[in-house]
Symmetry: C2
Subunit: 312 residues, 2 copies
């Protein structure tokens, strides 16, 4: 069974009340209490509208420390708060995820891989719903392997594709295969691309993103604990990916696109490439180089937020 | 294509040199340097044999703070080190995983979900290989949802099964479907079960473990951001799982079993159940109760280590 497009809502075509974050689950509205277990937050112990009602932008990324760096960067760039302000972790009751907020911007870590980001997104979408948020945009900032790009290049995802290069996210629901689309917001992607041209600091391209369930065999690496194919097989696979428009490989974009789309939220994926997978598998650039690469999606999204919030 | 059983080695049937940790990838032996990126460790900057050569037991679990608690507990229980000893995080150069060591016991976090634990296991298996470790046993200690069990019960996994209750782990390698077995060590499971009977502190059962890629829809929860089925559908699925021998549900056991088996390491999965999924979806027990539940796999494995190391 395939999910229908009816799950996704286009905020542009609905009256303003429809720009509220909507869930695709009627049960949640009837729950007396909703415990967001992996955030260590609950509607009965936390005032979600007061804590999160003004959120307009949610930025997510794998590493908790990177998401703290991001909120510090955004606070400074947008002139929200003062230098040296502390940014407490809103999810301090757990070590599953970290969450930070400054003004209308929420920054949340999601760990590595589709299941880890999916848990976070289910609870994030419920958080935004309970808080009564409106007009929320969600952006994933991450790292990836590139295909045929200079390391340090940034890829804005056109379509998230699976291991067979199809724009689909497959999961099992009650033992049955369900396939969802992985549409992202085209206008948002173009806006981010224009922003990168304005910045003029690094190469940014629009391309498809291969989303895998595994970092080693799943991405054709030759250096895992298991490997049963040759360099030639690997090259053939990566070149087929490139021919299908794939410019980078990561592990979260497909479910991110599917869940945001199902709840009608415009979403984008902005990842820096740490290496060119046509030339190797190991991430061997010096620490400082990798650290600077990882700031690039943050700078791009920081510039976007400044413009959107009228501070550029 | 299906992986053959030839990948797995039975250490009992081989001369002692074969009880070295073996990889299922000939490329690694030829690499001049091996960077374990997600551990922030490299063979050219760290002396793996000196740091890890004496490791005999690796315990893994989702939460970094729980794996620190575990190493502190083991250090005390086994009389390794002194009370108040600090246990530095060996992977302090990254926030992807945390790793601690005391004597022959290594404790490593793996985050949530199959992709996250798979990255960790590939790098862990290579670490043990580079260190020249012999006779290593690997145990996952975790949390799970129970089916038809009193919350707080511990399940030792007989077989890790997929969403259709088959003892298989499916992944995509170079775009092709590969299915691996999810065998765990039966003798080790029985030894852990006997140990729990000796402890006599909580109910422990042997059962199949359903390993899913999603916590909400993938486990039949009614309280996610998306849900398109009824309570009746959910009950039918969970009861079918129970009829197939499933006693708990988590998100890592299948790839854990598949990868350890492929490299010939005896492995076991010991998870406490935080709730009975036949009665609900939300994890709503008080914090102190959940904290005590989470200690149970640690106490069971602590007892096992004491006996194995001749300290009981």
């Amino acid at each position: 069974m395939a999910a229908t497009g009816a799950e996704a809502k286009d905020p542009e075509n609905h009256p303003s009340s429809d720009r509220l974050v909507q869930l695709s689950n009627p049960n949640v509205a009837t729950m007396k209490e909703d415990i967001l277990y992996h955030f260590s937050l609950s509607t009965s112990t936390h005032d979600f509208p007061a804590m999160f009602g003004d959120v307009k932008f949610v930025c997510v990324g794998g590493s908790p420390s990177r998401m703290l760096t991001f909120i510090e960067y955004v606070a400074t760039e947008l002139g929200l708060g003062r230098p040296g302000d502390e940014h407490p972790n809103i999810c301090s009751g757990t070590d599953r995820y970290a969450m930070y907020k400054v003004g209308p911007v929420l920054s949340v870590s999601h760990g590595m891989g589709i299941p880890s980001i999916a848990i976070m997104l289910h609870e994030l979408l419920k958080l935004l719903y309970h808080a009564g948020c409106t007009d929320v945009t969600v952006i994933r900032i991450g790292t990836s392997g590139g295909i045929g790009l200079e390391p340090g290049s940034v890829v804005i995802t056109r379509q998230a594709v699976d291991a067979c290069f199809k724009p689909e996210f497959e999961q099992h629901v009650l033992g049955k295969r369900v396939v969802r689309g992985t549409d992202l917001d085209e206008g948002l992607a173009q806006e981010l691309l224009r922003g990168s041209a304005e910045l003029g600091e690094f190469t940014t391209v629009l391309g498809n993103t291969l989303c895998t369930l595994d970092f080693y065999e799943g991405q054709g690496r030759l250096d895992g604990a298991l490997c049963s194919y040759t360099e030639k097989d690997k090259q053939a696979y990566l070149r087929a990916a490139h021919a299908a428009g794939v410019r980078n490989i990561e592990m979260e974009s497909s479910v991110f696109a599917a869940l945001c789309s199902a709840c009608g939220l415009p979403a984008a994926v902005v990842c820096v490439t740490l290496l060119d997978r046509l030339l190797g598998d190991q991430i061997s650039s010096p620490h400082e180089v990798l650290a600077e690469y990882q700031q690039r999606p943050q700078r791009l999204v920081g510039h976007f937020l400044k413009k959107r919030l009228g501070r550029a």
